[in-house]
Symmetry: D2
Subunit: 364 residues, 4 copies
């Protein structure tokens, strides 16, 4: 219970970090869509560990196989099964931690919930679980681009205490984001950010950060009042990503400090449509897209697993010191960029289908 | 599509702000629970307009009637129908706005989505829709208190630029929160907050704010990985409340600036159970409650409807000036307190039932 | 849990037989549809008790009020709240049965499930619960007729051992069905059927029957493989009606006795479309409508509550004799006709919206 | 949309008949349950083609692999991924049929629904899709047996016009059913049944049949009024199996011919519990199990794909004659036995978990 997301465009993921592999089923993908593994692999490659010194060096090729739902390069409208085998498993890394729940990790809460847990790695709480999401999100994105021209671009907007300047969300591209392994388009901030990460790594420590995201090109009308508002589903989607602690749309927490006369986005004619002069709403009003770019931010805490010694207690409550073994990201935000994009695309694809049903349900 | 929330403890709301009334059906309420309208009315009274000069003066008694699911003062386990009639409707207030979509309000996006919209007031995007949630949440809260001893207390933690000091989340009570109409327990900050709201009202303007919330007493084990993590469902629930722009759990965005060695919550023995020495996690790890208090914050933008003149455009794109009539809150956060509590309780009741199923599914 | 049906066109019902009233929320109704209570009342009138000597004489006007979701005679696309108050409650009729579970009624199983039950009448298991379905189904039907030209006509096809001849499903109308209170279009069988019911009534007994139904005008393509096949959802819908024991589509159980070469429906050109020469499939192949009329049958057992003395046991297992008081239908099938139509329309409206989403999700 | 079933114990299947393979994800399996492939394989072997001359001779070993959710032989409470590769694919068999939709098969309706379809075999409408269900159902069954002592036994109760006598549902075992490849425990009827199937096969034809099923040992209280009644979900589950045309519970259609005084099941003391003297209800009253054995029947039409020449039309409406190639079952009911059992177990496991949540939600 809990491993599925979406109503009409619906992903269900499976797989532990140290089992046979991870994957997903995606039900509700529109039929007749040209699709092959080559459409999915680029986002998986962007998510993959070992891309640079800034991330974990677990070596995984993360090559996805489509198991079903596609024939002769075209989707059948039936569930698409996706699978990525695990290769570089080193359960031994985790053995000595078995009786010490890692602070701020899921070891303790999984044990309390299930009465049992994967004996090594993070099981389902591992970042490895996100592979299924990224593959599924790549399908969503692929369809949204073709059907509506929707583009989704996420980037690193802060690392530890270092904030990047806001890029122009109307024009930012993935190529600009991927210009460096850090995935921050602000050249000025990059050097300080990289230093933060390297210092954390050198200290056997970790550091948090923020990923920002823009979705462009979606029409007005997506989002389902009242509990499945566009921003509500985005918030759920983002807070379902491991290590996230916050979500803001548009003006976010800063907007809560303003007056309405300052905060409101006045309407203006924009070509053939009605648009807004500013975008503090972040592209959504009353839970429904208004045709402006969606803009939101996601806070990631510093990874919980660190090599640095931590005074803590074991499962029996005995005081102890933990120095975690294994290969860990000192900072997850560069690799989180495609995960945020994937979750955004999954939300949008589902809402697009729901609005398509409504748009075509009108009687004369 | 979108007016239901929860899987096992499930609320479905209905009603427009200027129709016959608003209400909800709550399915999945445990049977045998003593319940009457008197258990629901207090939270509705806290949400009611016209409680003080700080809020709108629309006069509504908001008296709830239980239509079904309760007999002889005890729940039957069947759906509980709830209804609150609308009384003080003044559609005339809205007439002149009919061709001018209010900036940052839902008029435009509803029109684009549905091709039609309620001719007056906010329809489903109105704060009035939250009555059904508050009544349903009061049932959830009532059950959680009896079944698990869970207590939920929200409070105003900032108004405009004024921040309150953090109260002790382990001991804060609703009585302390309700000591003043502002619902901020920080005496030192209160005066400045009230001034902010009154100044906004005097300027025919509005101002935003933040509501914080603590849930105490929940056991470890609630929350469903991976897409229905406790914090993910809370984020959805909170961002489904009108006028919200952000959600943080535990350390939130501030946590993203820290190192892991600083951020991690070390385990310690706490009486008979394993607890954490600090609570930057906000009571949740890997999407599952860890037995510490849940702590989260919700950002509310300044209300969009203001009397102050705004340069904007009408539906046809013609430039115009809007001075909204009608009765509007200059600041929603005092009245949002019971709404945040209600949504939190709805999330927790659902996850409690899901974990109850799991806890009792073990084989020997 | 269990009082909602449908994914995009979704009804949630509430209400006990002897509480304040019964009703429903219908979410997902297309916006812009002309609708008023006058569109719903006719089917409620057909379902109403006291229409003739053949049914119970509980006197209820069953007048429906639309609480929300409609303004100025047009649907808003928001949830439609529906309410019908209970008037002719006589809890006293049920008092003496309180310690004797009625044989083949829900008294015992409700008590075992919930540990509590409505003290009188059938609570949620009462036929009165179906009011919400019929009102909701009338909306579904109203939309299907306007949007697709779909027509649904059910009729009584057997009463006890008396079978009617199959009418022409392509042309049968509701007026023909309603020509007599029995709702059986076969004049030849009618007299014997009425005799069966009157004899059962005279004996303080009850008798079962079968309702058949045809849905005409639906296009090919409705139904969602694999678990939500058109016939699977129809089967669920029909077996959710109180007192049902069986469902058949097309050839049904009789088809299981045939050879494939006899049973198969060969394709033929029918005007501009491909149709089938026979219709043993009942309008569905592989779980998807094929453009031919849907044809199915629903078996209703004899009502469990009878005045005739029954040797049985009370809740404590003591042998006793029960002679049920209260007003009961000797045969439910005449009043079940609009209920079967309502459930069929609810299934079709939901599948129509799901296919509309798919039809409009194609990329070029 | 449509490839998932269940709310708390939830299966999602994937895979085409002629793609890489078929499988399922099962979410919500209770944690701590001993489980390995050896627990699943027996039911897959019973479903497997090529078991005898009575079924298709497509040669598949149908060996299942558990991809996730199990570690060290014990379930983790996380999604269990299941996969069975396809081996004996012969797409060539289907080539010449590509422009002729097989009568009463899904070729035409899939094409109309999706605008595209698997170029060979039945795609998702193939019996091969049921592998995922059978594997998932074996998990459900395994848990139900350990947690509640529930036993599910299905058998062939008719083939074409030949009916078997009703075995004693209280004592019938799978071993008795599997005594012959036909899976009919009535020795007297078996010979005539086998003759029916062999005659159909010799004529390049097919023949229908009925599978009956009993579930023993479930407690009173399972089933969710009003739309998810036990019999309603069973009906959906059974009508979702390919080639089914009807469902009956308890007395079924025959019960519709009776008087209430004859049909009602009087209560009697049965050891420590209240039971019923007869079981025309089929183990369910008001949609809720009453503690008596569940008894139901499922009608299967004759397989649509036959070698015998059929006059029909091609997709363009041109008259033609089809003689289907490929390997087809002349009669599906022997192999349908484990599929019916699997679907029954999936329904029961889900309802058991839902009732577990309720049972443990009571407050003092």
């Amino acid at each position: 219970m809990g491993s599925s997301f979406g109503r009409l465009f619906r992903v269900s993921t499976f797989g532990e970090s140290h089992g046979r592999g991870v994957g997903a089923i995606v039900d509700g993908v529109p039929p007749g869509l040209p699709l092959s593994e080559a459409d999915l692999q680029p986002q998986l490659d962007r998510r993959r560990p070992g891309q640079s010194r800034l991330t974990t060096d677990r070596a995984e090729s993360d090559t996805v196989t489509i198991l079903s739902g596609v024939e002769l390069g075209v989707t059948l409208g039936t569930p698409i099964g996706l699978f990525v085998p695990n290769r570089d498993m080193r359960p031994g890394d985790y053995q000595e931690m078995s009786n010490i729940p890692r602070p701020s990790h899921a070891d303790f809460s999984y044990q309390m919930k299930y009465g049992v847990r994967a004996s090594s790695g993070g099981g389902r709480s591992s970042a490895r679980e996100t592979i299924g999401r990224v593959a599924a999100g790549a399908i969503a994105e692929h369809w949204l681009r073709r059907a509506y021209g929707v583009e989704t671009v996420a980037w690193v907007s802060s690392v530890g205490p270092v904030d990047a300047a806001l890029p122009d969300p109307e024009t930012l591209t993935r190529d600009q984001v991927d210009a460096t392994a850090l995935r921050c388009p602000d050249e000025a901030a990059r050097e300080a950010m990289v230093r933060e990460i390297q210092a954390a790594r050198d200290d056997q420590d970790s550091v948090g950060g923020v990923v920002s995201c823009v979705c462009r090109g979606l029409p007005a009308g997506w989002g389902e009042p009242v509990f499945e508002k566009l921003e509500a589903l985005l918030a759920q989607a983002m807070l379902s990503i491991p290590a996230t602690k916050g979500f803001e749309i548009g003006s976010g927490f800063a907007g809560a400090r303003l007056r309405g006369s300052v905060h409101n986005d006045p309407f203006v004619r924009k070509g053939g449509r009605l648009g807004t002069a500013s975008n503090r709403s972040g592209g959504v009003q009353g839970g429904i897209s208004n045709g402006e770019p969606l803009l939101f931010r996601v806070a990631f805490k510093p990874p919980a697993t660190i090599g640095k010694a931590q005074a803590t207690a074991d499962f029996e409550g005995q005081e102890t010191v933990l120095e975690a073994k294994g290969r860990h990201d000192p900072c997850v935000v560069p690799r989180a960029v495609p995960i945020v994009e994937a979750m955004a695309a999954l939300v949008l694809a589902d809402l697009a289908l729901r609005q398509a049903a409504r748009d075509h349900s009108r009687t004369k």
